[in-house]
Symmetry: C2
């Protein structure tokens, strides 16, 4: 027995060292493993299963809004990358270059895609000729590479998995509508599948995507009060179309430029889940994306009838839920810790005395609440419990955000709020001047996160220069 | 009306020029589009949807046999690739090398994975310590890069999509069993989902995967009589474990080497589907992987009630099948050609007179058979028709293979059979000597495809040297 007990070691408490807590979790919940490729990681089965659930749900939402999946090459010739000036300036410094194929030196270096606007544009130039060819609503699920200097699992790595939607439309209006539609899809997904409240807004010009006319984003607040950009949606106008000579014949038989968008979310969402819901016992997973939604842990499993009953319950629950029965010879206590570390939303405990009483114990991960449940009501109760976990996680995250959102009218107020209450979102007015944006960051440490669609009028003047304010901005420290 | 008619142009007849027929289909059925990255292609929505169906079915089969998905980095440091001697010799000549990250020159070049044995081995060395950690049954769905000189869409490209399974086991027996299990999974998938009969067998030593002890393969015969390797499964013994220092403590508390396998299929399967089932009107898709299983084409769709009835039928059929109703203003004739080109297995025609009679016309793509079907029996009949298409495709492919399989006792017989009947599988005995294998190819043009599990005793002597034969081999020209 002794040798089979792999101890779930302690993890660093989050209030002691949040960064170390995060690192402990990604290792001990077996989400990632480091490799000899600096800045790249193995996404282990448990984390990949979370990603598969994210993919499945989002892909369904994309298809329901009329999108089709495609797959572009992973390489972009340097000459193609250079066609759109802002875009190449934004990305060239952080790409990986393929210079040799076999033993042959390449004439035109190939970059490993950091994003695929240029490839989609080349393709659209080939296949879009008439207004009848529009819109094209394409998406791809691939990995991309950005040569980052400092990396952290899921949050910033040299290679990451993502989806990138790239669409092309007859008019600016349609393209803008698409940009907003996909931002809403992301927000809905984060709230309904990840139990993570988000702020929807527009990025300031200094924070736009390279080549975009406007970048929209959803911003979430992590447990430690730092902001995390969870998804972006870009409106390109006809800038890329002009750079790549994409022209179509409109209904009036004129050659005109179409309008484009792109939008993406990444494996970073797994980092967001960890930092939004996790606690000192490990991961806490929102039920919609949890690889295991219910774990059944037998008590005194060697006693006759216990494993049989557990199997029966598993079969019943498996019709609706993702269920694991752990009948290994590890102790029940070890199993409790293990599945708490793995963040399984609901645990079912079932032993000889429970069986006699025709019941089991159901424990919800986020609040450790225990309920005795009649076995013949188990399906209904588990469905309720999973909803409870989802709602509990969402409300806790929302409370954390509200507690950590500070409306401030001056630089002093910002500094005071952060010093007294810790990191969080600062809501403060802005004149729209980039110099003020920079100065706020310099004086307080928080940068602009987004100009939210839902505006509050905190005051009439810019928090920095005192001139008339144009908008309220969410400011924060960002992952 | 005129401008909306995109004409489905003629394609080259397959008997006139099979290679050109293939190229015409991949373009005109909108499967791929070329890019400025030589040897790489855009997999367009229709082809990608076929791949998604392949993925979904295979992934289900992998999970049902206990496998989990992971994701490794796309890069392999040169020093890691070099750890297994045969492996690096096999792959180094055809890999793409990343030598720069941003503006910084890399100390250790990174190759873009041509296959990921080395990465899985590094990972296994990190996570496998005890017999309790075994087996690990991992798979990943990714793309890989091989710097091929001549390329053809789906069949041979510099980047292709695939899955690669990598497993590690306590004993040789278990690993060999896994190798065979996955070959059987592939064969079952090809026959049941792709309607494509395959020969299961072992590769000769000269044709083994770089680093493998044994390579098993499934071989299919295309319409033109050329063979296509549709999937491979490799047994590695403990060779990689030794090269990568993977050791585990067995039940007797001794440090021993585990045994490994790998297995994969690629987007090449789409090429196999085209060349197995396609005809002079275009693609013909096996129902299990067809993105559209049933297309509904209205007749006289401007007449009152027609589109409504078509919609009704669509709603009924969509519960069970993947259905498209084409209510565009293209002519019915244009639509017939379009969906024949796209290989949609079943077409439903529905016009005012049909509606009056409470019926519709159902046409199966592979044999153009027309059936009048009562609308209230439509669900049952479509299910039957889809089975008919599957069986019809399978039987036709099997007939083609049987017609083109030649049992030969001498080099002369081989040359005669090929000259008289065209390319195909040659069944002939072999002494096991590599020199004879080479000589058969030199004298007849056909190389060894595999040593089939199902052996026939064509004669007692080697077809080449006349010495005692060890095995019967399938020989053929290969894609």
């Amino acid at each position: 027995m002794a040798e089979n007990k792999k101890l779930v070691s302690e993890i660093t408490p989050m209030d002691e060292d949040f960064a170390q807590w995060y690192t402990d979790i990604v290792k001990k919940a077996e989400l990632i493993e480091y490799t000899s490729v600096k800045g790249c990681m193995v996404i282990r089965p448990y984390a990949y299963a979370i990603w598969e659930n994210i993919q499945r749900i989002l892909d369904g939402m994309f298809k329901a809004t009329g999108h089709e999946n495609v797959c572009m090459p992973m390489f972009i010739p340097e000459s193609l990358l250079q066609k759109e000036k802002d875009h190449v300036e934004g990305f060239a410094p952080e790409v990986a270059w393929v210079t040799m194929g076999g033993s042959e030196k390449l004439e035109d270096r190939l970059c490993v895609r950091p994003t695929s606007e240029t490839l989609f544009c080349e393709h659209y130039a080939n296949i879009v000729h008439s207004y009848r060819d529009l819109p094209k609503l394409y998406n791809q699920w691939v990995s991309v590479v950005r040569w980052e200097k400092t990396t952290r699992p899921f949050l910033r790595s040299r290679e990451f998995l993502w989806q990138e939607g790239h669409t092309i439309h007859a008019t600016a209006e349609e393209a803008i509508e698409e940009t907003e539609r996909m931002l809403n899809v992301y927000a809905q997904f984060c709230e309904e599948a990840l139990a993570m409240p988000v702020v929807k807004g527009r990025k300031t010009d200094s924070d736009k995507f390279a080549g975009a006319e406007a970048t929209y984003a959803i911003e979430a607040l992590m447990h430690d009060g730092k902001a995390l950009q969870a998804g972006t949606s870009h409106y390109f106008g006809d800038g890329f179309a002009k750079a790549f000579d994409i022209l179509y014949t409109n209904k009036e038989n004129k050659q005109v430029y179409p309008h484009q968008t792109s939008w993406g979310v990444t494996t970073r969402l797994i980092g967001a889940i960890i930092m939004t819901h996790g606690d000192d016992s490990g991961l806490v997973l929102p039920p919609a994306v949890a690889p295991i939604q219910v774990v059944i842990v037998p008590a005194a499993q060697h006693k006759p009838g216990v494993l049989e009953k557990c199997s029966e319950v598993k079969d019943i629950l498996s019709k609706q839920f993702r269920v694991k029965l752990d009948d290994s010879d590890n102790s029940a206590g070890w199993k409790f810790s293990e599945y708490e570390m793995k963040g399984v939303p609901v645990r079912v405990e079932l032993g000889p005395r429970d069986i006699e009483a025709g019941q089991c114990v159901v424990v919800t991960r986020h609040n450790r609440e225990k309920t005795f449940v009649k076995l013949d009501e188990i399906e209904t109760v588990i469905a309720e419990k999973l909803r409870e976990v989802h709602d509990g996680l969402y409300n806790k995250a929302l409370e954390n955000r509200e507690k950590r959102t500070y409306a401030c009218k001056s630089i002093d107020e910002i500094n005071k709020a952060l010093a007294e209450n810790g990191d969080g979102f600062v809501k403060a007015m802005w004149c729209g001047d980039e110099a003020c944006e920079d100065k706020v960051k310099e004086l307080t440490g928080v940068g602009s996160r987004c100009i939210p669609f839902e505006q509050d009028n905190i005051s009439d003047t810019c928090v920095c220069c005192g001139k008339p304010a144009k908008q309220m901005v969410y400011w924060g420290k960002a992952y």
